[in-house]
């Protein structure tokens, strides 16, 4: 089975406060990591390839600005066990919307021959759209939020995470596109040594022309959806903040717990 996994470098938000610089993110304060969902997708691809045979290729989309971050993410996923990587990079790709990213990825899919294409269920912007769009462009069947996969000849049984802790089981024909939900597996640990081992591997880069893309269909010009800014919403009424010394805060909390049937 030939498996393509689409991955993305995203800002590491963690538990820390996000800093803004005017109406944009303060990029100097950001560190980048692989999108959390993508690690699960890569792990799942590796497990499927181990079980039924095949190869795993990771692909990402970027521009000159984030060349290093993209390269780092691809090598990290190779260190996990993906055999090949493809870096799609062009100035024309900058500020693509989800549709643009799917269009670029379709260019890469058309250059290869893949039975299974995986994406993370969502990334930093939270649209969760690239996988479904790519599938529709390819006329492949699609299933989102997949948290269970049983691979068989020519088809798969996949579980989709739906509301209330339920799982919706589907049979899906290959080739197909699946978006992977976190928790489907336990992504393996990647150490410094593993990353060092793939540091010298050649990762091919393809631009718009290599992929046969019309530049007006991608990037800012091709985007139907445009983000105007970033902002922190004015705090509304919100929570009543409990303040004071550590002891005072805890005493007040205990009073609240007692008054409301928590203690």
């Amino acid at each position: 089975m030939e498996i393509l996994v689409c991955v993305k470098s995203v800002p590491d938000t963690g538990e820390e406060e996000i800093e803004l610089d005017g109406n944009d993110l303060d990029y100097d304060e950001l560190t980048y990591v692989v999108n959390e969902w993508d690690n699960y997708a890569v792990e799942e691809a590796i497990q499927i390839a181990d079980k039924v045979g095949g190869n795993v290729t990771v692909v990402t989309v970027g521009d000159e600005e984030n060349e290093d971050e993209c390269d780092e993410v691809l090598r990290r996923e190779m260190a996990m066990g993906a055999g090949n990587a493809v870096h799609l990079m062009d100035e024309a790709f900058e500020k693509s919307d989800a549709r643009g990213v799917a269009t670029i990825l379709k260019g890469a899919v058309d250059k290869g021959k893949y039975d299974l294409i995986l994406t993370g269920a969502q990334a930093d912007a939270g649209y969760g759209a690239v996988g479904g769009m790519l599938a529709a462009m390819l006329d492949y069947p699609y299933a989102s939020l997949v948290n269970k996969i049983e691979a068989a000849e020519g088809k798969m049984t996949v579980g989709r995470e739906i509301e209330g802790g339920n799982t919706e089981m589907n049979e899906i024909e290959l080739p197909c596109v699946l978006s992977i939900q976190t928790g489907i597996n336990e992504p393996r640990y990647v150490g410094i040594k593993g990353i060092r081992q793939v540091s010298g591997v050649d990762v091919p880069q393809y631009g718009a022309e290599d992929l046969g893309l019309d530049e007006s269909s991608v990037g800012e010009g091709g985007a139907k959806v445009k983000r105007q800014d970033y902002f922190i919403p004015e705090a509304g009424e919100g929570a009543e903040m409990i303040e004071g010394s550590d002891d005072e805060v805890i005493d007040k909390l205990i009073e609240i717990l007692k008054a409301n049937g928590g203690l």
Binding site: E15, D124, G126, A136, I162, C176, V225, Y230, A239, G262
Partner: protein, 319 residues
């Protein structure tokens, strides 16, 4: 002229509450008239109920639509809807399955998980949504001249009033070929047994802020200190990491809980998580003063939970 549609989800003969929110959102875009679309098998009753909030209801009745398999629903919608349709959906696991592909097939803009509609200027729709797990908001514009597929965050729009009395139009004959390469098999319920957090009066709920599996013990000790009315629950990342069992997960993809007090420790407060908390007072403890939890909680404490939890446990034990 732009035509507005709302896809109505339904289960067990009832339309979902979000239908009224979709009607209100279309009005906020300046729609004079909104058409509901109801798909399924044997849905006369449900289609009539949708007429309560919409001027017209398109009914697409076909056995192939008996279960809402997004791949099949998409084909029906593409056949029935005009190319420049603006289609509204309630953001959830079905909309995420249907929306992106539908927008490609309709060649229209896709906007997901919109929290506010600011209006339409010319053909540009102005909206608000969040990014980076809810930690920042953004204004997003979309040109909807060629149509749009828009998913709206549940609860973000005030529901519209009912009593519209829309008429039902049968579009079943226009559904076209409904064959699909993905077939629905069954819905599997979560495994029963073990802990039941839905019965607890007090939930000590932990999130990513707990940082390490070894620190789970802190939450267990706090629960022990409080006693039998308390149970430990958690947000998604804790279950994904397998630090706690899935039955303890609160949220739209986990359990819905109604404790007297929900103590959210190191939980950012995403809407998917808070969607599972349906009552009682909410107290958020987080070291990030901008964490969304402080917008939805009744009480907030800015603190590092790794220091706060042991201090609280010690105090309760000394009472």
């Amino acid at each position: 002229m732009t035509q507005y549609f709302a896809y109505i989800q339904h289960a067990k003969g009832e339309i979902e509450d979000t239908a009224a929110e979709l009607a209100a959102a279309a009005k906020a875009m300046g729609a004079d008239s909104v058409t509901a679309v109801v798909t399924g098998s044997g849905i006369d009753d449900v289609a009539g109920k949708a007429g309560e909030f919409f001027n017209e209801v398109y009914k697409i009745d076909n056995e192939a639509l008996a279960y809402p398999n997004a791949e099949v629903v998409r084909k029906a919608l593409v056949s029935v809807l005009p190319d420049d349709a603006v289609v509204l959906l309630s953001h959830g696991t079905f909309a995420m399955d249907l929306g992106p592909g539908l927008s490609v097939k309709q060649d229209s803009a896709y906007l997901a998980d919109i929290t506010a509609i600011e209006g339409v200027e010319g053909t540009v729709l102005k909206t608000v949504r969040t990014e980076l797990g809810g930690s920042v908001s953004t204004h997003v514009d979309a040109d909807i001249a060629g149509g749009a597929v828009i998913t709206l965050r549940p609860g973000a729009n005030e529901p519209a009033a009912g009593g519209v009395g829309g008429t039902v139009t049968d579009k079943s004959g226009d559904a076209g070929d409904l064959s699909a390469k993905r077939k629905f098999v069954e819905v599997v319920a979560p495994e029963a047994g073990g802990v039941d957090i839905t019965k607890a009066e007090m939930l000590v709920s932990i999130g990513r802020g707990i940082e390490d599996e070894d620190n789970i013990e802190m939450a267990m000790e706090l629960k022990e200190a409080i006693g039998s009315k308390a149970e430990v629950s958690c947000s998604r990342p804790i279950c994904d990491a397998k630090w706690l069992e899935a039955a303890r997960q609160v949220g739209t993809s986990g359990q819905t809980v109604k404790p007297n007090v929900y103590l959210a420790l190191g939980i950012s407060g995403s809407f998917q998580h808070m969607g599972g908390v349906k009552g009682g007072i909410i107290i958020g403890v987080n070291k990030n003063p901008n964490a969304p939890i402080f917008q939805v909680a009744d009480y907030g404490i800015e603190a590092d939970i790794l220091e706060f939890i042991p201090a609280l446990t010690e105090k309760i034990n000394s009472l």
